[in-house]
């Protein structure tokens, strides 16, 4: 009983969750615990279940089994529309913006009223406008606010999606490959955004293939392979383990 951990240390846990697609076990009895107010990184080879894990945590896919524990509340079913109530928001691996509406509306839409009838009566509030302006300026998209989201470049779309997640004032942010395909300048921008969010005591989980960034940013590291947990712990120590090196090079 010497190492009793304060339950408040973990913001998000999974207990033996599973997900299969036909005969393929994408996530197999996975148990991980994500620390509060840390930058946690998930790495793993292609097809190791990283995106599936994020989809399960945000309710886009139904769990086959197991429990997700958010803030000490156990959930066997995570509904997508309830994920912000649990304090979770996310970005997507392939950017999913609302293409045929403006950049401004892409941000505004996550700030406004959720309930149907109040939303019908609500016009854009000054507080929402100020918040959208702040977000757009912080991701450097303020000049582009009237453009259609589909007319942006890839990097701008990626940034806008991160901005959209930031506009959600929640505890846990799940970023699915926020650095993929970005030019160095934008890469620095995203890095500084993530660092700022850590400063603001948010818990961040991100998936990346870029080991330099993983080393630079993350406080904690999970390595997935074939839907199971291969290793967890301090970044340098985990990346030095032979099993992890095998998983990346052995396939």
């Amino acid at each position: 009983m010497s190492t009793q951990v304060d339950p408040r240390v973990y913001v998000l846990e999974t207990r033996e969750i599973s997900k299969s697609f036909g005969a393929v076990k994408a996530i197999d009895q996975l148990t991980i615990s994500i620390l509060r107010e840390w930058l946690t990184c998930i790495v793993g080879p292609n097809g190791s279940g990283k995106s599936t894990l994020i989809n399960l945590l945000s309710g886009l896919l139904p769990l086959d089994g197991g429990i997700v524990v958010v803030d000490n509340v156990g959930l066997r079913v995570v509904k997508a529309h309830a994920s912000p109530d649990h304090g979770i928001t996310r970005t997507f691996q392939e950017v999913r913006l609302f293409d045929q509406i403006s950049v401004w509306d892409n941000i505004m839409v996550v700030l406004t009223e959720r309930r149907v009838f109040p939303a019908l009566l609500e016009r854009a509030k000054p507080s929402h406008r100020d918040e959208a302006e702040r977000i757009l300026k912080s991701v450097g998209m303020w000049e582009k606010r009237d453009a259609m989201a589909q007319d942006l470049s890839y990097g701008q779309r990626k940034l806008l999606e991160i901005g959209r997640a930031m506009a959600m004032d929640v505890q846990i942010y799940l970023f699915d490959e926020p650095f993929a395909g970005l030019f160095p300048r934008m890469l620095e921008q995203v890095k500084s955004i993530l660092k700022d969010m850590r400063e603001q005591k948010r818990s961040i989980v991100f998936v990346s293939h870029n080991m330099d960034i993983v080393r630079e940013l993350s406080d904690h590291l999970f390595v997935l392979d074939s839907g199971t947990l291969l290793a967890a712990g301090e970044v340098e120590e985990v990346l030095a383990r032979s099993t992890v090196i095998d998983a990346y090079l052995g396939h």
């Binding site: 524990v69 000490n72 509340v73 156990g74 959930l75 066997r76 079913v77």
Partner: protein
């Protein structure tokens, strides 16, 4: 275990129960329907037999349409609503060619502009087909200009021939005999060669000259027979109607869908465009033939037989047989031939199929043609069974669409099973209701299926 966790667990079990409830509900519904039909059968077996037979007869039409529709859908993955118009073209094509035969020629229609229009469309499609099929082969052997002139003349000849056939429906058996001769000769040659290679001497060419001579003799004899049998006019008009609706579908494919699919390959855009085509063709048919329902001439087998207290028409038995045979042909094409392999490859991934060297344009064109022929058959069978009206296209199309969804989207087995199942459910449904509620019953069947069995009866694997 905190209290919160327990509370959520109860929520979870509640959700599970709801899921089970909907499954139970579906089961109960199925059982109730089966029990109802069973009770009805016990009540009056004769009538039940009658309704079951009617269901099969109606189902044959739905199955024909659904098979063509599914075949096309599982290749290009959008719902092409043109096939409603194809069914109407099939039925009205027969009416157009036989209208002097219907009710003493009271509604006889033969309009020059329509003949010219179809002649031009056929010539265009023929020119395209010649270009796609033959241009490569002759490219090196003659001047491009010579080829162009020859191809143009051939296409024009096909167009003029179509125009002539359409303009003289009373002499259909005479006018079509050359075409019959050509088709029979070709078919006989193929059969003889295959037979010789299979049975007599594998891997040899055989006495080609002798076989062709025999085939030509057979072809000419059949053609002479056809030319001397005016009563064949109706059945020849079936062939012409099917060919016409296939030709229109080829024209649409080359003229429109190829371009559209390059510009924006979105299923909804294609669906709306084909809805526009359906609107335009339906209105065109109304202009030529007027909106009032018309009968088709008497086909064979319109005398009812009485079997076990049910009145059964020979023509309906033929329709059921046609649907089953059509299914067999389609299944053979898909499973046993190189063409079928190519179709499945395109259905799986068109880009990959292109890379592998499949001529996707030609294959898809043939698929469209076959789909239109099946739709036209469905249209003319239903026209002979009841009557024709311009709106029939849309309604038949919806039934075929429902049948393909109920059977399992994209599956051929599903299409035929769905078609017959829909026909049966419809007929048993109107037992206690008036017949005018049958469309409502189909859609209720659809919505129930989509809600409880969204995969359909026999899903595509």
């Amino acid at each position: 275990m905190s209290v919160a966790r327990l509370r959520d667990a109860s929520v979870v079990s509640f959700l599970k129960i709801r899921e089970q409830q909907s499954r139970l509900l579906a089961m109960a519904l199925a059982v109730a329907i089966v029990a109802y039909i069973g009770w009805k059968i016990v009540q009056s077996p004769d009538q039940a037999l009658q309704f079951a037979f009617n269901g099969l007869a109606v189902g044959a039409v739905y199955a024909l349409l659904a098979m063509g529709f599914t075949f096309v859908y599982s290749t290009v993955w959008f719902f092409d609503l043109y096939y409603g118009a194809a069914a109407a073209i099939g039925a009205y094509g027969v009416f157009y060619l036989r209208s002097h035969d219907v009710l003493g020629g009271q509604y006889a229609v033969n309009s020059g502009p329509v003949n010219v229009l179809f002649a031009v469309v056929t010539a265009g499609v023929a020119a395209w087909a010649l270009h796609v099929l033959c241009y490569r082969r002759f490219q090196g052997r003659a001047q491009p200009r010579t080829l162009l002139i020859i191809g143009g003349l051939l296409a024009a000849a096909v167009g003029v021939y179509t125009g002539l056939v359409l303009a003289n429906p009373a002499n259909l058996h005479v006018l079509l005999s050359p075409l019959v001769a050509v088709l029979v000769t070709g078919g006989a040659t193929w059969v003889l060669r295959r037979g010789f290679q299979r049975v007599v001497a594998p891997a040899t060419r055989g006495p080609l000259g002798a076989m062709v001579t025999v085939a030509i003799v057979v072809g000419v004899l059949v053609a002479i027979l056809v030319a001397n049998t005016p009563s064949l006019g109706l059945y020849l008009s079936w062939g012409v109607a099917c060919l016409l609706s296939g030709t229109v579908s080829l024209a649409l494919y080359r003229g429109l869908y190829v371009t559209m699919r390059e510009r924006a390959n979105s299923p909804l855009i294609m669906l709306v465009a084909s809805l526009g085509i359906l609107l335009a063709i339906t209105a065109f048919i109304t202009i030529v033939f007027r909106a009032a329902p018309r009968p088709l001439p008497e086909a064979f087998g319109s005398e009812p037989w009485t079997i076990g207290g049910a009145n059964i028409k020979g023509f309906n038995v033929f329709a059921i047989g046609l649907a089953v045979a059509g299914f067999g042909v389609l299944l053979f094409l898909v499973k046993k031939t190189a063409f079928g392999k190519a179709v499945r490859a395109i259905g799986d991934d068109e880009e990959v199929a292109k890379v592998v060297g499949i001529n996707t344009t030609v294959i898809i064109a043939v698929v469209f043609f076959i789909g239109a022929v099946y739709a036209a058959l469905a249209g003319l069978v239903s026209g002979h069974d009841t009557a024709i009206q311009p709106r029939m296209g849309l309604l038949l199309l919806l039934k075929g669409w429902i049948a393909s969804v109920v059977g399992g989207i994209g599956s051929l087995y599903g299409a035929i099973v769905g078609g017959f199942a829909l026909g049966m459910l419809e007929q048993f449904g109107i037992w206690d209701l008036a017949g005018e509620w049958r469309d409502v019953i189909s859609f209720i069947v659809l919505i129930v299926f989509l809600s409880f069995w969204p995969q359909g009866l026999l899903p595509r694997k």
